[in-house]
Amino acid sequence: MHELAICQSLLSEVERGVAPYGAREVIEIVVAFGSLSGIEPQLLERAFTVARCGTIADRARLRIELIPVVVRCRACATETTVAANALLCGKCGTWRVELKSGDEILLKRIELSDIVDAAAPRGKDKPCARNADVP
């Protein structure tokens, strides 16, 4: 369960990304990763509702896009979409393939509200939205 650490890194990248845009609320964060990244989407969502607390993104939605695991055969150059534990060429069956995608852990996009509200409480002064979302 390293998804909490991943979320903390994610939020720190988000804060860096939005810094030039002033006092605006983060509405949505889009992340993309493959199943060879070792991240479980459901655990990431749960961890996010905890980690976002008291940050600039404490009411943000997390949208997760999955990147397929794709390998390219070193022998016949065929590209195959495969399961994370079967990195084999779909045409000739060899394991001598290279990974084309599927191990990424990416912050893809941040959606910011255009409403600038400098007076709004931020960070630790802001009430936490966590309890509203966790069943």
Partner: protein, 266 residues
Amino acid sequence: MCQECGCSLTPDDVHVHHANGTMSVRPASTSIDVLHGILHQNDQAAAHNREHFRRHGVLAVNLMSSPGSGKTSLLEASIDILKGKYRIAVIEGDLETENDAERIRAKGVPAVQITTGQTCHLDAHMVHDALHALDLSAIDIVFIENVGNLVCPSAFDLGQNANVVLLAVTEGDDKPAKYPVMFRVADLVLLSKSDLLDVLDDFSPRKAEAYLRTLANPATVLQVSARRPETLAPWIAWIEEQHAGVRHSAASHSEHGHVHHHHPVA
């Protein structure tokens, strides 16, 4: 900004806005495309550690496995063989206790214990802090014994030269299929406690290796037993080969007059 009337809608909203002939149907927002590695800061710290190791010609080996597969015992037995020839240090990662570091220190080599509390893996910043407790100019090989866990440690680059993953023969030989993320990044797989193969007929080294290949991983697979030092020869030879490679690249780099100044990681 909308080209037609100067309102602040994003391109996605524009057709909705103008089709309806009304102001925004949803709150105006700005999209920032990032496409950036989430573990960017860890990767930077790892690159910094790697530079420390490279500059000092130090081989850094990241040892990973499930809890109890014999990482510390393997280190103890390996230190006995290596310490006459190499200056060794160990960084120990555990949730709690200094026990493993004390076992290593009893062998006469420096050990830094990182206690991670509730964190299930080491990251590059933790290793960087630990490096400050070691004099790398007086070390040839650093073993980093990661937290016993076959899932989380694989996501965090520490700046190591090589990942060594242990699979004890008391575990299932299909572990590579169950934990593909970990076994895919292994540069060497050690089947540990191999002395027990004589009495365990349900672990097939051949199957374990086949599962590893199914992850497109060409890594060498060796059988080792910390209780039988004579089994460690191929593993020791692998370390020596890796160390020679690191020394060679450090030497050829310094011929070009490169100097790296140390800047603490922010």
